[in-house]
């Protein structure tokens, strides 16, 4: 068994009610490391790709990496992977919190779940013992309630929980980890709901074996010092991820009014990280072993959007339930965030679907007759808050939005699709490619659809991080040019992907020196990978997932940006600018070794050691 790993995975067949451990060869771990990379390999090798994402035979995988549980800063992550019920292609979402380290302590590197339970169940793992128990009494309860009930008997357990949205198969349903952390994107809560798996709880006391404890301690010490010295870490601690709101609005990063306006400084000032800190912040919160503590704990004490003290909104949520829908009331964003958390919904895709509906309502394409009487005027938070439970409950107009903005627009027909801002069915996160052309390419080529977290492009293009030791980099990149961006995206993806396979936080990969991460990784695993070896793992991950998507029907014609993004803005830092999609794609395809169909060429698959995938794509 390789160091850094628990050494076994758990297979759960919910139809049969059976749990059994299995192992993965060390050679496979060296090649794919862990997290969603290893998940993709297990998916390709062991499951019917063509199956409906919500069918019993489609797997749901909860995966950790070798650094998880080590105590290294940022190593709290885990990934949930499955074929996405929102996009129909590869789906994955990573999450912080504390579930990942606890799963490792409980003796498992990951869980692979298939089947469908006859009645709702909870999967419990404690010190290697597993059991499935009836969860009929929890079905229908929200994420917070369920979490509290599960922890009543043992406060030390860590839980993954779905809410009503997951139970009702909302296509952007999320999975919550201990209230404050969410597996948000690509609708994986619906996959859990389809399996009638209400929750997973873990409890463990095991200790992780490291290859070289002394070298690990040195790397860990260096990491803590780098965090202490980092302005980015200081900014995240002081303001959370919403520190981006003020700066992003200046730089043309923040979408306004469903991506139709280039800037609104009053809006960003009302919704910014500093404003949150000065108004509703009660304290900060950290994932396991993280000194940055970027999470916000907030409370709205009174008024129409009153909330209990609880997890506060990230920047993305301040975008989707703020700037995107022209809501200037931060308390309203906090209330919407709390409701989405409780119901178990991705705040990005949910907010994007509402922004899309508000645009159609403003244009008269939708009326109160279509919306069950809700006035979806821009910024009407009372209607938004009334709509959220209807989406989770799939009631009336809520059921239309529960299918995701693209599916909803296709049902409406006409020009409704033009207002959906997505790539491969996944709504864009809150970073505008008209302000940052590299992000446009990253959205086009990300393997889960439009994504800001499967790569490190945001960090490098916006200048939060610079890694000339990894690849040739300029001192500064202008956002509104496509020149040199294909190369930047290619390398930044290969490095950023490691965050997912090693399972460490993306912010920490931005903050820490690559040398420190490499040294810690090698001290834990003993793999002895240099930068080239690590970057090759990133490239292998990208190509593996691309190949899976090719087998699921993705081709070059899907590597596009939506019409709205290809329409220049009239104001703001991105005014008049759109990514040069053809140039970016042409240059990127060469770097990735893709053919004109958008398939990895055979020689690229051989170079990366993906012979099984080559067999599947070219047989």
């Amino acid at each position: 068994m390789a160091n850094g790993y628990a050494g076994r995975f758990l297979r759960v067949d919910l139809t049969e009610g059976r749990c059994s451990p299995f192992t993965v060869e060390d050679a496979l771990l060296r090649k794919f490391i862990g997290g969603s990379s290893l998940g993709a390999k297990l998916f390709l090798d062991g499951f019917p790709l063509e199956a409906d994402p919500l069918a019993p035979e489609s797997p749901l995988m909860v995966m950790t990496g070798p650094m998880v549980g080590s105590g290294f800063p940022g190593s709290s992550r885990f990934a949930v992977c499955a074929k996405s019920p929102l996009t129909g292609i590869w789906g994955e979402s990573a999450c912080g919190g504390n579930f990942g380290p606890e799963l490792k302590k409980a003796g498992y590197d990951g869980i692979v779940i298939t089947g469908r339970a006859e009645k709702p169940v909870v999967l419990s793992i404690s010190e290697g013992e597993t059991k499935l128990t009836d969860a009929s009494g929890l079905w229908g309860k929200d994420v917070y309630e369920t979490t509290d009930i599960l922890k009543e008997t043992d406060k030390g357990i860590k839980v993954l929980v779905i809410g009503p949205a997951g139970e009702n198969l909302v296509r952007f349903a999320a999975v919550g980890n201990d209230k404050g952390h969410f597996v948000g994107r690509t609708g994986l809560g619906a996959v859990m709901g389809a399996k009638r798996l209400k929750a997973i709880s873990v409890r463990g006391e095991g200790k992780l074996a490291k290859a070289d404890e002394t070298r690990y301690r040195e790397a860990q010490k260096a990491a803590f010092q780098e965090i202490k010295d980092s302005a980015l870490a200081g900014s995240l601690h002081a303001m959370g991820s919403d520190a981006n709101m003020d700066i992003g609005m200046i730089n043309g990063d923040v979408p306004v009014k469903n991506w139709s306006i280039g800037e609104d400084f009053e809006l960003s000032a009302a919704l910014s990280g500093p404003t949150l800190s000065e108004t509703y912040l009660t304290r900060t919160h950290a994932c396991a072993n993280c000194p940055v503590a970027c999470k916000r704990i907030v409370r709205v004490p009174d008024g129409p959007f009153q909330t209990e003290e609880g997890p506060g909104p990230e920047y993305e949520t301040c975008g989707t339930f703020g700037t995107m829908i022209m809501n200037r009331d931060l308390a309203g964003v906090i209330k919407a965030n709390e409701l989405c958390n409780r119901l178990g919904m991705d705040t990005i895709s949910c907010g994007a679907a509402i922004a899309w509906a508000m645009e159609l309502f403003g244009k008269g394409i939708l009326t109160v007759k279509d919306t069950d009487g809700l006035d979806l005027a821009w910024g009407n938070m009372e209607s938004v808050l009334a709509l959220l439970p209807r989406i989770a409950g799939r009631e009336g107009f809520g059921d239309l939005l529960a299918q995701g903005s693209l599916a909803a627009a296709r049902k409406i027909g006409g020009n409704a699709v033009d207002a959906v801002v997505h790539v491969k069915g996944l709504d864009l996160p809150m970073h505008d490619p008209r302000g940052y052309h590299g992000m446009g390419l990253a959205y086009m080529m990300s393997n889960r659809g439009a994504c800001h977290l499967q790569h490190a492009v945001l960090a490098t293009e916006q200048g939060m991080a610079s890694w000339p030791q990894l690849f040739p980099m300029k001192d500064d990149y202008q956002g509104t040019t496509s020149e040199g961006k294909a190369e930047l995206v290619f390398h930044s993806e290969n490095y950023g992907i490691l965050g997912n396979s090693l399972s460490i936080c993306h912010y920490l990969t931005d903050i820490l020196k690559p040398e420190t991460i490499r040294d810690a990784f090698n001290a834990i695993t003993g793999f002895g990978l240099d930068f080239a070896g690590l970057m090759a793992c990133g490239a292998r991950d990208w190509t593996l997932k691309r190949g899976i998507n090719n087998l699921l029907g993705v081709t070059a014609k899907d590597d596009v940006l939506p019409k709205r993004i290809m329409t220049p803005l009239l104001e703001g830092a991105g005014a008049g600018s759109v990514p040069d999609v053809e140039k970016l794609k042409r240059e990127y395809y060469v770097l990735r070794g893709l053919d004109e169909r958008g398939f990895p060429k055979e020689e690229k698959l051989v170079e990366l050691g993906l012979d099984d995938l080559r067999e599947r794509l070219y047989r």
Binding site: A231, S235, M239, I247, F265, A269, Q462, G463, M464, D476
Partner: protein
């Protein structure tokens, strides 16, 4: 246009004049309160044998002291930014964005980061006006 030697009192006076006469700055900076010092680390090869300390002070759209000063005065400012000469030159020539340099650790900041982010337009405008000055850099003489 007149040219000024970098990091001299004449250069600071020209920068102060630029800011004081900018109506746009006056509007953007109407909420800013507080002094900012710049510390340039020594780099003998680039013509900077000793550290340079600069003190600048801003108050609700107006500018107050702009001085070459000593270490104690510089460290008394509300915000203290420090970095190598090469980095400051890149910022002043608009080759590197100051916020990015800060995030990447190429420049260091002591002071309330939240306040800086809240007023980032003011910070950017002050830098933009600095970039408009024709500057003679010691390593280019």
């Amino acid at each position: 246009m007149a040219k000024f030697n970098a990091m001299t009192q004449e250069w600071l006076d020209a920068w102060k004049e630029k800011i004081a006469t900018s109506a746009e700055y006056k509007e953007i900076a109407k909420n800013w309160e507080g002094s900012v010092s710049i510390i340039v680390n020594p780099d003998p090869e680039k013509g900077i044998p000793e550290p340079i300390y600069v003190f600048t002070d801003y108050w609700h759209g107006d500018v107050r002291d702009f001085l070459i000063c000593d270490k104690a005065k510089a460290e008394s400012a509300n915000f203290v930014m420090s970095g190598d000469f090469a980095r400051w030159k890149q910022v002043a020539k608009k080759e590197v964005d100051s916020t990015k340099a800060l995030m990447q650790g190429k420049l260091k900041l002591k002071g309330d980061l939240t306040y800086v982010v809240r007023n980032i337009k003011t910070v950017n405008k002050v830098i933009d006006l600095l970039c408009e000055i024709e500057t003679i850099w010691p390593d280019e003489v």
